[in-house]
């Protein structure tokens, strides 16, 4: 079993936005989803999930409504706002550029070692 990696600074917001983009979802489900999707590789610090959600809500990237879950209990469901969607796009793009360039640099140094 690979060791769990710590989330780099600032990526939690991106992951939250991505998960919420799939449809209205409450906080607990977001935590579950993140863990499942990353195949438990990403340790989601639960303590920082909610402050992050509230920050994103206050910045207007997320909106929230209280709705009943399948078990009938009321929960706060987050959804992406228009502003959130465009933020997600730009951040995804810049993340990809970053990882590609990091990967490029890493390959280069491997080549140099041959």
């Amino acid at each position: 079993m690979p060791s769990k990696s710590v989330l780099p600074q600032g990526t939690l917001d991106l992951l939250i936005l991505k998960v919420v983009a799939l449809g209205p979802i409450h906080g607990y489900a977001i935590a579950q989803r993140l863990q499942q999707v990353s195949r438990d590789a990403v340790q989601v610090p639960q303590g920082s999930l909610y402050p992050a959600l509230h920050r994103l809500e206050n910045r207007g990237l997320l909106a929230a409504d209280w709705k009943a879950t399948e078990t009938g209990r009321e929960a706060k469901f987050y959804r992406l706002t228009r502003k959130g969607r465009s933020q997600l796009e730009t951040e995804t793009e810049s993340w990809q550029r970053l990882t590609e360039s990091v990967a490029l640099v890493l390959r280069l140094s491997e080549g140099g070692a041959e």
Partner: protein, 872 residues
């Protein structure tokens, strides 16, 4: 949700947050239970993974961005509560700050319009005053000739104007009224950059000898005399028996800074063919052309002077010679020059008082801080960060400052009223002294600054390390070095108080010295008033002379009057009439110099009590037809006729067509002010001067209360001619006092400030020693239990207080030395290092501090060892 609604719905959001987090936890626990984990274990694991829910909730709240404001509100509430727990402390601090802020704000309101606020004209920084420089470095009023030359031959100024006062009598309506106005050249309003509200500006084409009589009225005069009737423009009004056409009305907002009392203006209409064109009695103002600097203008004007002096050599020779140079001063500065040193000194003094007030409050806060060390230690133990504690302290001090500032504004309001009532009449912009926006901003700024300054020292002190020591507060054994800060503050207070006391003392001694200066005349029992003849009949010299001699006779016959006489200028009244003198023989010195010219009627010297030194006085036998004679002042005789007998020598005064023979020498008289050196002066009979002056001052020497003679004297003059305005009725004693009004004004304020400083310093010393004794009660108890006598303990405490005072005095001496340099223009007749003042102030300060120390020391000596030792 925006910031405001997040702030507003905080409570509701907290409930939802709680619900959301609980949902998460419950959900996770039930998930774990369904996977077969025991409920208790599941709960444990979930909470472990989540981290404290309270902390998470706190972080979520912080994400709202409203936290800081809620904290401030909380601090404020807490601050108010903790202040109200100690009303004595709060009251003392607030009262001290209110006084300091109030006094500074009141003084700032007076200083701001005079020294800092630009004049109310467009681009007012470009308006300059142009004066002639004298050999002794001073400035003198220019002549019309100099103005003509400069305006013809220089181009630095877009507009130049020349002016003098004009006091016509308006006789359009039933009762005649003497008005205050100005005779100006046509460009006057263009220099200021203002245009009439109604009608036309003055026309340069009319500004010539015997041009049309025109006048422009101020808004106030127009409303007062003509009820704002627009049809008055274009009509004629009667001023001094002449018809003047009203050509314009100035706007209500127009402020005539050059003569705030002026209500109407006419054209000067001078011509260089007239003798008066060479008299030094005019003021020149100019508006610099865009792009021309003051320096450039100064250079151009001075470069043009030699040519001008050559062209008008004959004219200048009749009145004190040509201009040696010109001085170009910004109008704002020129108008405030005379009051600037006094106002700056007063402003400096009030700021010192403010600093002392702040030091006092800082001291109070420190004392209170040490009482609260237990509280702070407890709060730190409960998790309050140091930043949080400092912020709490600062909030409290800001709160104190704000309450003090608000009360201070009320004090300032009252102070301004007192200030205006007290201020010398020549204070410019008196009307502009009020609580306006800049003053309010100043008050707010100093209040905030004080709040921070006063809170910072105690806040840092409290937050520093010794917090766990604070928990053991009650078992303090010695009141040791911890109090160095409070001692330092007391030393600072004493030092500042000394600076103020020395300044006030020096001013007090100066005023005493000035008022003990012999003015050269006897001011007791002398009543004066100015009689201004007006009307065509007074264009005839002999008619004028006859009127004044009849009036003098009528007054002299009144009961209670000993002597009455007329003079064209009265000492210390603001009159200033100087003419060029040319001696017939040079005496080996310069034969041309300016001198005060007095045209007097017989009896003037007796009425004023001016003593005769040599020769004879002027008398009834000096007639227009007889030999022109003059009497000169003692110092003129000494400096201009060294080793020579002046009697019988001849001189010209003004136009060089009359030789005056010197027949007598009289004592020197202070003309401009008491603190100037004795000027050269000549006296001629009114009947023998080049013309008969239309405005003369009556001098009445009588018995008892001469002021009560005024109505009878006025009636006596009006019995000769009822249409002649009589103004400036004053006793000679009040004129002498008024001439020193500015110095006295500064003195009164300095005395108030010095007294406040002394009180505050005494309170400061008392506070520190008193707190000190309380904290040392145990130590003192042990000392007396071990056999220390009461007088020993008394001396112990007294010595501590007096040591602080002496250190403060030593530091203050340096400050006082520097401050007295700044005061030098206000001092008279004493050295800024006057030993008597310094000594007196030191004795007083030490004395007051001993009194302030006495009470705590006495209390210490009464400490009962058995009680204090048992108390522990």
């Amino acid at each position: 949700m925006n910031w405001w609604s997040r702030l507003w719905h905080g409570r509701q959001m907290d409930v939802q947050l709680d619900k959301e987090l609980r949902f998460h936890l419950d959900q996770q626990i039930s998930d774990l239970i369904s996977r077969g984990i025991a409920p208790d274990e599941a709960r444990r694991q979930v909470y472990l993974a989540f981290g404290g829910p309270t902390q998470v909730a706190e972080e979520c709240r912080e994400a709202r961005g409203t936290r800081w404001l809620l904290d401030i509100l909380h601090d404020l509430r807490f601050g108010l509560r903790s202040l109200s727990h100690r009303p004595g402390f709060a009251l003392a601090a607030i009262a001290t700050l209110a006084l300091g802020i109030g006094a500074s704000t009141a003084i700032f309101s007076a200083v701001n319009p005079v020294l800092f606020k630009p004049l109310p004209y467009p681009d007012s920084g470009r308006i300059m005053m142009i004066a002639e420089s004298r050999t002794d470095g001073g400035a003198r009023l220019p002549s019309f000739g100099a103005y003509r030359g400069l305006s013809d031959r220089t181009s630095s100024f877009a507009a130049l104007a020349v002016m003098k006062t004009w006091q016509p009598t308006l006789t359009t309506t039933a009762e005649p009224e003497r008005l205050q106005g100005q005779s100006v050249s046509a460009d006057y309003f263009r220099v200021l950059g203002v245009t009439p509200l109604i009608g036309q500006d003055l026309n340069p084409a009319d500004d010539r000898k015997s041009g049309p009589h025109v006048t422009i009225l101020s808004y106030g005069l127009w409303q007062r005399r003509y009820a704002g009737d627009r049809s008055i423009v274009g009509q004629q009004v009667t001023l001094d028996d002449d018809k003047y056409t009203v050509v314009g009305i100035m706007p209500q907002t127009f402020v005539n800074a050059l003569d705030p009392t002026a209500e109407l203006w006419t054209l000067l209409q001078y011509d260089i063919s007239q003798g008066r064109a060479w008299g030094h009695h005019l003021k020149i103002v100019g508006r610099l052309r865009p792009g021309v600097s003051r320096d450039q203008a100064h250079h151009e004007l001075n470069a043009a002077l030699p040519a001008i002096n050559q062209i008008y050599a004959d004219g200048f020779a009749t009145a004190g010679g040509p201009a040696l140079g010109v001085v170009v001063t910004p109008l704002q500065r020129a108008l405030t020059e005379s009051v600037r040193p006094a106002l700056l000194a007063i402003f400096g003094a009030v700021l010192l008082v403010l600093i002392i007030a702040c030091v006092n409050v800082t001291n109070l806060m420190l004392a209170r801080g040490s009482q609260r060390r237990g509280e702070f230690a407890m709060r730190t133990a409960l998790g309050a960060s140091r930043v949080r504690l400092v912020r709490q302290m600062l909030t409290e001090s800001l709160l104190l400052a704000l309450i003090g500032g608000a009360l201070g504004m009320l004090i300032a309001q009252a102070g301004i009223r007192g200030l205006v009532a007290l201020s010398p009449a020549d204070l410019p912009q008196l009307g502009a002294i009020r609580l306006d926006a800049p003053v309010f901003i100043f008050a707010l700024a100093i209040t905030t600054l004080i709040g921070l300054a006063v809170g910072l020292v105690p806040a840092l002190q409290v937050s520093r390390n010794e917090l766990n020591a604070g928990l053991q507060h009650s078992s303090d054994r010695t009141a040791g070095s911890r109090h160095w800060m409070r001692r330092a503050l007391v030393v600072a207070e004493v030092a500042l108080a000394l600076v103020l006391l020395v300044s006030a003392g020096l001013l007090l001694r100066s005023v005493q010295r000035v008022l003990s200066v012999a003015p050269g005349f006897a001011s007791a029992h002398v009543l004066t008033m100015q009689v201004q003849t007006s009307g065509h009949r007074f264009k005839d010299n002999s008619y004028t002379n006859q009127f004044f001699s009849q009036a003098q006779e009528a007054v002299r016959r009144l009961p209670g009057v000993n002597v009455a006489a007329f003079t064209n200028q009265l000492p210390l009244s603001g009159d200033f009439d100087v003419y060029g003198i040319k001696l017939e023989l040079t005496n080996g010195l310069d034969d041309r110099f300016p001198a005060f010219r007095y045209s007097v009627t017989p009896g003037y010297f007796a009425a004023m009590g001016i003593p005769l030194r040599r020769g004879r006085l002027l008398n009834e036998h000096d007639l227009p037809s007889s030999l022109p004679v003059a009497v000169i002042s003692e110092s003129m005789a000494r400096t201009k006729f060294p080793g020579v007998d002046p009697l019988g020598r001849r001189m010209h005064a003004g136009a060089e067509d009359i030789w005056y023979t010197i027949v007598g020498v009289v004592g020197d008289v202070k003309q401009a002010s008491l603190d100037t050196t004795n000027p050269d002066a000549i006296y001629t009979p009114t009947t023998q001067w080049h013309w008969a002056d239309n405005v003369l001052s009556l001098v009445v020497q009588g018995q008892g209360d001469v002021a009560s003679l005024a109505p009878a004297v006025r009636r006596a003059i009006w019995s000769i001619d009822k249409d002649q305005p009589i103004v400036r009725v004053a006793t000679m004693e009040s004129l002498v006092a008024a001439s020193e009004a500015q110095r006295r004004f500064a003195l009164v304020l300095f005395e108030c400030f010095a007294l406040a400083a002394l009180l505050l310093a005494a309170v400061g010393i008392y506070g520190v020693l008193s707190g000190n004794v309380t904290e040392r009660t145990r130590e003192i108890g042990i000392r007396s239990a071990l056999g220390a006598s009461r007088s020993y303990i008394l001396t112990l405490v007294l010595r501590q207080g007096v040591t602080l005072t002496i250190v403060g005095v030593l530091i203050g001496l340096v400050g006082a030395f520097l401050a007295s340099r700044a005061l030098i223009t206000l001092l008279f007749g004493i050295s800024p290092l006057d030993p008597l003042t310094y000594l007196g102030v030191i004795v007083m300060l030490v004395g007051v501090s001993v009194v302030a120390c006495w009470l705590p020391a006495w209390r210490a000596s009464r400490v009962d060892p058995s009680i204090t030792l048992r108390a522990e």
